[in-house]
Amino acid sequence: MTRSATVRFTVNGEETSIIVDPLASLQTVLREELLLTGTKAGCRQGGCGSCSVLVNGELELSCLLPIAEVEGCSVETIEGLSAGEKLHPIQTAFVENFALQCGFCTPGMVMATKALLGENATPTKDEVIEALSGNICRCTGYEPIVKAVMDAADRLKGSDEVSLVGGES
């Protein structure tokens, strides 16, 4: 059974080297090997977006990505955006705009927002809507989420990428 390989990649800036089934999805490796369960599993069909992560800065559905293809890549997950009580401006915008209810789609929505704002700092409402079109939410009706993304864009304007210092200074 040669379904085992060593795969090296970084997760939220930390070097990771892991012996794993090369066909295992990045989602399964993040959740079941690295216990980073902020990346969710809503469908495992590539249809809900709750497993969204960034790989080399690009938005990816971790349920569709075999871990073998992550060799040498830089992976960003929801856990990488905050440190203790210090939230990323996108996360603060979601909280203050009540842009979540059950919270299950929220990590995916935040990562889709980060990917969008990384490529387009001043998106129009339609560009926000297209950027979120791979993420399903069943509770909020999307309106507060679109508002939160526009609010996050304003918060990020001016301040360059947020530097996160872990814990209390």
Partner: protein, 344 residues
């Protein structure tokens, strides 16, 4: 490609709560030595904001700051009974149970404070900021934390309370159907504005304007969240989703999110809502249930707007584009007239 607009309205009520086999909900509260109040219940948070609202109710009834209230609802070993989260019942039931438990805990807290302040419990009040004051006597006050500490270590009082809200079982009379199934009624009226593409049959909901009467809104933003989320679900239920596209047949059942049609962010109408704060007669602080009703008025309002737009009554949901197109063709061939170019 003709776009025809239409407007329609609907008005609904919705019951708060249920009785099923009798509907008890119990809450337990106890204070820590330093004045933190733990509320234990077993009602489940689905995202509607239950943990938030019930903590607000507990803090309000105890007269203590929200930050000193911690709510647990996650463990049947420690949480008392709750029937479950459905029927827009949970805030009403658990909220009333928490008020009863808070009253009991507050009574013990006031006994301890009265002893420390050498006053009678009836003279005392809370300022909501963590202090207990003697009414009319400026300066004579004590912090809740001090009272809780003294209650533990000086006088040996347990600042704790238990509360239940019980809706008795109401058997249904077999012949008349007489029953008492719920506790109060919320109401809503919705006006829908839509646009029909008469070439493809696609329907867009442009705007949903609603007035809701759901008792006192304990947390207005959370109430608004239910109204917007429910309106979106109403649009989806009316025009998009079904597990049986060829009901009553079972063929072509969708098996994934790409096959199960729901509107995306681009299909969301403008949603405006006004909430009337008319207190109910038996909800915690005059609250009524809102969670379950918020798709109910948008659905018929959209169907009525369709009649206004293209003069066709639809009796089956979902109303799909092919049903709209077929209805337009039948209407046109029946009347041999072109579809009315009516734009509001």
């Amino acid at each position: 490609m003709a776009k025809v607009k239409g407007r329609g309205m609907a008005a609904v009520n919705y019951p708060t709560g249920m009785n099923l086999g009798g509907d008890p909900t119990i809450a337990l509260i106890h204070a820590s030595t330093s004045g933190v109040f733990n509320i234990s219940i077993s009602s489940v948070e689905l995202g509607q904001g239950l943990k938030t609202v019930l903590a607000q109710i507990g803090a309000e009834a105890l007269g203590v700051p929200l930050e000193t209230v911690v709510l647990h609802n996650d463990d049947t070993d420690t949480g008392p009974y709750c029937t479950g989260t459905f029927a827009s019942r949970t805030t009403h039931r658990a909220g009333n149970a928490i008020i009863a438990a808070a009253d009991e805990a507050r009574e013990v807290m006031f006994e301890e404070a009265a002893e420390l302040l050498e006053a009678t419990p009836a003279d005392l009040m809370t300022d909501g900021a963590g202090n207990i004051l003697v009414r009319g006597a400026a300066g004579r006050s004590i912090t809740v934390a001090e009272v809780c500490s003294a209650a533990h270590f000086v006088h040996g009082r347990a600042i704790a309370g238990r509360g239940i809200f019980f809706k008795p079982k109401s058997p249904v009379d077999p012949d008349t159907g007489a029953m008492d199934p719920d506790s109060t009624e919320a109401h809503a009226c919705t006006i829908a504005e839509i646009e029909v593409d008469t070439e493809t049959g696609n329907v867009r909901v442009l705007r949903l304007s609603s007035a809701y009467e759901v008792g006192r809104a304990l947390n207005p933003r959370l109430v608004h969240g239910q109204i917007v989320g429910g309106a979106w679900m109403g649009v989806s239920h009316t025009l998009y989703e079904t597990t049986a596209p060829y009901y009553p047949l079972v063929e072509h059942a969708p098996t994934s999110f790409s096959e199960y049609l729901m509107p995306g962010p681009a299909e969301c109408p403008v949603i405006e809502a006004e909430v009337l704060g008319i207190a109910s007669s038996n909800g915690p602080y005059g609250q009524k249930g809102v969670g379950e009703m918020t798709a109910n008025s948008p659905i018929p309002a959209i169907v009525n707007a369709l009649y206004d737009a293209i003069g066709v009554r639809f009796y089956e949901l979902p109303v799909t584009p092919e049903m709209v197109l077929r209805a337009l063709e039948e209407k046109a061939s029946a009347a041999e007239l072109p579809v009315p170019e009516v734009v509001h």
